[in-house]
């Protein structure tokens, strides 16, 4: 809801991402702060942020295909694996530089995603979710059974470099990952306010009516899948070059289910919801890592390190509570909060 005194006089103002000059100042200040973070914070915090940004990229792709287009895709982890292994092969076998391999791995994941998305035309909702799970298992099986991807041992990948400057520390990779994340977030936010975004939302709301209105369902569903797999491929490439080791164990079905949990908790169908969900779950993970030694000491029947199972339990519990009490996610609460201070002293 607009604050008092802010009126939209033109169409551009109505669909603008940044609406007033005050918003611009806050945005520019925030981005500058993000660039200056490595100067103030520790190594561990920066690596946590790297993890958050890479996860945010893949969950942005998932938000576009599931939150905006309504096609539930549980295969994001597999497409991330395709991007990671493709980039690994491009840089080690073909000798391409990282900067060329980055978009190429996104495109290759996107093309394979088209093959995976092709069934989505005839298959609806729940059957589609399970067929993406099937695609996940088939892709992971193929990756672990090919010799060029190193069977189950995976590949070793070099760090990105410009000339002599090698990005091999957390701080340096932070800038690369931050730039890519900012670019892709802007692209996603722009996509959903454009004509293509409105088409995707129309397909989600009622695809028969959308077809009757003249929207080519096949074309736009394929586009949604391609974009989400492109994002997943780019995230996989960044992950590969950040860890410098690629392995099929990094991309399990649990990860794909975690991403779906993130968009539910964050809010389906909103780009800021992606960041809410990702940050919420990463902080939950850190919290459980901190308290699990304490719990292991107090309750010895839990075993040596209950962190893994406590993590999964916490995830499930949080998801249950959110589905019972706030199914529209944190983004919905954020909207209510923003409205409450914008139209003060009136109430919503």
């Amino acid at each position: 809801m607009r604050s008092c005194g802010v009126f939209d006089e033109t169409y551009e103002k109505d669909i603008a991402i940044v609406r007033t000059w005050r918003h611009w100042i806050v945005l520019i200040g925030f981005v500058a702060l993000l660039f200056l973070l490595p100067l103030f914070f520790s190594y561990y915090f920066i690596s946590l942020l790297n993890n958050i940004f890479i996860t945010a990229i893949v969950v942005l792709g998932l938000q576009i295909v599931t939150g905006y287009c309504g096609q539930v895709s549980l295969g994001q982890a597999a497409f991330m694996a395709i991007g990671a292994f493709a980039s690994g092969l491009f840089t080690t076998r073909l000798g391409l530089s990282f900067w060329l391999a980055l978009p190429l791995s996104g495109i290759s994941a996107g093309i394979i995603g088209l093959i995976g998305g092709a069934p989505s035309l005839r298959i609806k909702e729940f059957y589609l979710a399970m067929s993406t799970v099937a695609i996940h298992y088939v892709v992971i099986w193929v990756i672990t059974h090919l010799s060029i991807t190193g069977y189950t041992e995976g590949l070793v990948v070099p760090a990105p470099s410009i000339g002599d400057f090698v990005f091999d520390t957390e701080d340096r990779m932070y800038y690369v990952i931050l730039m890519v994340t900012l670019l892709l977030t802007y692209f996603a936010r722009n996509l959903v306010r454009s004509r293509v975004g409105r088409v995707l939302v129309a397909i989600r709301d009622n695809d028969l009516a959308a077809e009757v209105m003249g929207i080519n369902l096949f074309h736009y569903k394929m586009l949604g899948f391609f974009i989400s797999c492109f994002y997943a491929g780019i995230a996989g490439c960044l992950l590969a070059h950040w860890y410098q080791v690629v392995n099929a164990e990094q991309f399990t079905l649990n990860h794909a289910l975690l991403y779906i949990g993130m968009i539910i908790v964050g809010g389906m169908g909103s780009v800021p919801g992606v960041f809410f969900g990702v940050i919420f779950f990463r902080l939950l993970d850190e919290f459980i890592l901190v308290i699990s030694p304490v719990l292991a000491r107090e309750f010895t029947w839990m075993g040596m390190s209950p962190a893994a199972s406590m993590g999964v339990m916490g995830f499930g519990l949080v998801l249950i509570l959110f589905l019972l009490f706030e199914p529209r996610g944190i983004a919905h609460r954020w909207e209510i909060f923003k409205t409450s201070y914008r139209i003060y002293p009136y109430r919503n």
């Binding site: 729940f126 067929s131 079905l253 339990m313 019972l324």
Partner: protein, 296 residues
């Protein structure tokens, strides 16, 4: 050659019985509540754990531990229904599916807390040894598992078709609103469905744990059961049985014939999923499922 074929066929059929019971559980829940439940994979695992605790650790007699495990499994299903699924009765179906998925993750954590990385073995309660029919070896305990799986399925199908309770379940499956209007207590029917399906899942878990012992991939069988229910059609019992047997046979044939050709082997992990993709491309609602007619 032919001996090999029949060997693979028979061992595949026996494995298939195990998959069939899990598939039938999921079809049972879907038919009445239109929710495809992921949580039954965990109920399966917990049923196996309860049986292990009663039979293996506490050394109770076989029948007592079996029925206690089933009762506890039913109570678990009742709790899941009461605490979570009931609140979501008016909500869109995708939310209910996500709720079952959240319950799956939560119970997965509890299961891993108990199991950790170890493997627990249920002591053998079925006769050992093999029966030799013209060169084909059939393991006696696998045969016993097959009958233990098929018997509840038969009882369930008879119950569903010929009893008053079954009539109420079928009416609720058709249309919740009309069933409520005819005087059927739909909430009670949902609870009954969850309890019955949890008992069947517990039986399935005990049978599976006899073959694949209790360790962390055990709940993954629930996911495979979901895949099998989809292949057969989510609203068809016969489809689930047929699909379960087919996947069992194809897995064992794949392991026998295709494995030596591919370096690394392990075809049987991926057969069920490839089958799902192929079947869904040809028949989007499963082999024997009813196609839904959509209107604007």
């Amino acid at each position: 050659m032919m001996i090999d074929f029949f060997q693979y066929l028979s061992s595949g059929l026996l494995m298939g019985g195990m998959y069939a019971i899990i598939g039938v559980t999921i079809v049972l829940v879907y038919k009445s509540t239109h929710v495809a439940s992921l949580a039954h994979g965990q109920i399966l695992a917990f049923g196996a754990v309860f049986f292990y605790i009663f039979f293996g650790v506490l050394k109770w007699p076989l029948l007592a531990s079996f029925s206690s495990a089933l009762i506890l499994g039913g109570i678990l299903g009742f709790l899941i229904n009461r605490l979570t699924m009931r609140r979501l009765i008016g909500e869109p179906l995708f939310t209910c599916f996500l709720m079952t998925f959240a319950v799956f993750m939560f119970l997965d954590g509890v299961f891993n807390l108990y199991v950790g990385g170890e493997t627990r073995f249920i002591p053998a309660y079925l006769p050992e040894g093999t029966i030799d029919i013209g060169g084909v070896c059939i393991a006696k305990d696998r045969l016993g598992n097959f009958f233990i799986s098929m018997l509840p399925i038969m009882i369930l199908i008879v119950l569903f078709k010929y009893s008053k309770i079954g009539l109420r379940m079928r009416a609720t499956a058709e249309n919740h609103t009309l069933a409520q209007g005819s005087g059927i207590r739909v909430k009670k029917v949902f609870m009954l469905i969850w309890v019955v399906s949890s008992i069947m899942a517990a039986i399935g878990g005990i049978v599976c744990a006899g073959t694949i012992n209790i360790h962390f991939p055990l709940p993954g069988i629930g996911l495979k059961g979901l895949v099998i229910a989809l292949v057969g059609g989510l609203d068809s019992f016969a489809g689930a049985i047929v699909a379960g047997l087919m996947v069992g046979i194809l897995e064992s044939m794949g392991a026998g014939y295709i494995d030596p050709l591919i370096p690394g082997g392990g075809v049987n992990e991926v057969v069920a999923y490839v089958m799902l993709l192929i079947v869904l491309l040809v028949k989007p609602y499963g082999l024997l499922g009813l196609a839904r007619i959509e209107r604007i």
